[in-house]
Amino acid sequence: MEMINLTIDHKPVVVRKGTTVLKAASSIGIDIPTLCYMKLDDMNIENKPGGCRVCVVEVKGRRNLAPACCTEATEGMEISTHTIRVVNARRTVVELILSDHPADCLICAKSGNCELQDMAHHLGIRQIHYQGEQSMYREDTSPAIIREINKCIMCRRCETMCNDVQTVGVLSAVNRGFQAVVAPAFEMNLDHSVCTYCGQCVAVCPTGALTEVDETGAVIRALSDPKKTVVVQTAPAVRAALGEEFGMSAGTLVTGKMVAALRRLGFDYVFDTDFAADLTIMEEGTELLNRLSAYMAGDQNVKLPILTSCCPAWVKFFEHSFPELKDIPSTARSPQQMFGSIAKTYFADKIGVKRKNLVVVSIMPCLAKKYESSRPEFAVNGNPDVDYALTTRELAHLINLGNIEFKSLPNEEFDSPLGESTGAAVIFGTTGGVIEAAVRTAYEVFTGKPLPRVDFEELRGMEGLRKATIDFNGTPINIGIAHGLGNARKLLEDIQAGNSEFHAIEIMSCPGGCIGGGGQPYHHGDAEILKKRQRAIYSEDKNKTLRKSHENPYITKLYEEFLGAPLSEKAHHLLHTKYFDRS
């Protein structure tokens, strides 16, 4: 390994050949400001177009300033990172960006979380010396994501996520010069494109160019309407991240405080999507066992591997890109939609409230859940099963709006009956969790024996593609796991080619699973945060007395009182769905 000696701000540093000046500086604690640059460590993704020129540094003997993020360190280099010339250049660059940026920071959705705003503040920009033409690109609103391209600074991070990580390929830089924008093909709106609404573009956008559709106003109206009974459900991954919005360290579990906050906001019933996750396992697990049994009995037509169907971005992805595989995923609806369906039938009857007066709000780590809840098949006579899907960030905003001192809230319990859940449900929030939950139940139902151990370490981790073989009492079951749609694509191409070795595959669109969802508090590319959230999820599972979905007594009761059995006609009607060819 060839080593390179250089000095940065007069400090000597030794780095491997190929290291950029930016990394060399950070290795000795010198912070060079960046704007377009993005590095996602565990995904091997680095976005360094060198486009914004905020990271420029002075290189002795070189005429021009050099962008640190994409300039390789060379032997004997003498770098200065904060000379007057450099700082002036940085200020000029940021002023030029601001000269074509709407000055509506006061009312921008990203205010307070905007990297451009932070940079202007950091550099102390008080005046913009350049005046010129302003971009006037139309706003594009979809069911989940809003594109306000006038706020785009062409950092290209969204393109990196959409093309390299997710391989969805919706976004690309189009046109040239001042007219250049990041847009879908033919500059169509997002809702006409193959966008999956995974929201990873929103998660990395440094400015307010890409944001989520804000439904907090509608939720406040529902809460203040005396005729409405408002029910809320919370997805597993939310409790492992919400605390970050209130200055708590990453990985702090805030389940009890979250419940308390929702109650103080005025929700009539605070329920848990985890309940529906247990229900999902009953349906999806039974489907898996049925397919496996048929396969072992010699049925050649049985569709294997079975694919999980909880993730709406993944569902939209295969509907667009692999429509010929649409019979393979489980037909089970996602936990969000199962919850909505049960809340507006079973629960509405129980409390004697008419469907039209029951409002179901969900708190999701996800943007695609907004889209999912708007799919017409999840509505009865135009009344959706889930009325509003808020992100973790939107919930934090509501809590702040309600003047609730989150950190000092007591821990409270979910309401009954749709608030009871097992440890199997909470791990839905991380990559590998859904399939582990399914295995816990499927194993016991299939073998008729209790699990020798509940924790399946072999299914856990952060690698993008994982596989494991679980011994079902003599029958080996091959399991595949993918998170990030680029990884999912690889498994799907194997299935298409007939080369898949798996019986069951779990797919989550977002890197890390729902803990890294597009609606979570911004992690700004820090993969450590995802790992901490993951650990929090597993610790919540460990602390539960019941850790297998089929042991949830309220699920048993739901089947006895209402659904009959998994895959019954009623269950099919309320808990299953079908997929569409959107190619």
């Binding site: 690309s172 189009v174 040239r176 033919f186 494109s193």
Partner: protein
Amino acid sequence: MPGIKLSEKTIGIIQQVCADFRNEGSELINVLHQVQSKLGYLPAEVQEVIAKELNISVAKVYGVVTFYSFFTMIPMGEHPISICMGTACYVRGSEQVLAEFKRQLSIEVGQSTPDNKFSLNCLRCVGACGLAPVVMVGEKVFGRVSPQMVKSIIAEYKGGCAVEAKSA
């Protein structure tokens, strides 16, 4: 997304061009060049076929098509007129020449006349700055063009086949 309504023959032509470049995504610009020279322009449906053949996203294809002014998504006229807006031509009055072409043909930049005889475009420097301002009609170069010459340039092409005009 626009539905594919190209003829089998057109699709065949595009597929052949892509195959000539081993269906490699990195050959996109060459493929676009060839397809445009065969079909005259690159409408959305054509870009979709190219994206599929080269296994790249349509957005990427569209991005390249819109980046280079050479590529066009609208059919060019029988006689494509290009006015150089490079620095030399611009300072010697190409803007007034362009205005006269717009006036004479009653079309804007990027449009074609209703009879599809002429289309109007701007380009950046043809490397003949000594002849500024420069106008190209098809492959032919006209130099030191003044607004007064515009009418006669158009007239040369109006009557069907173009007469050999005196170029500078």
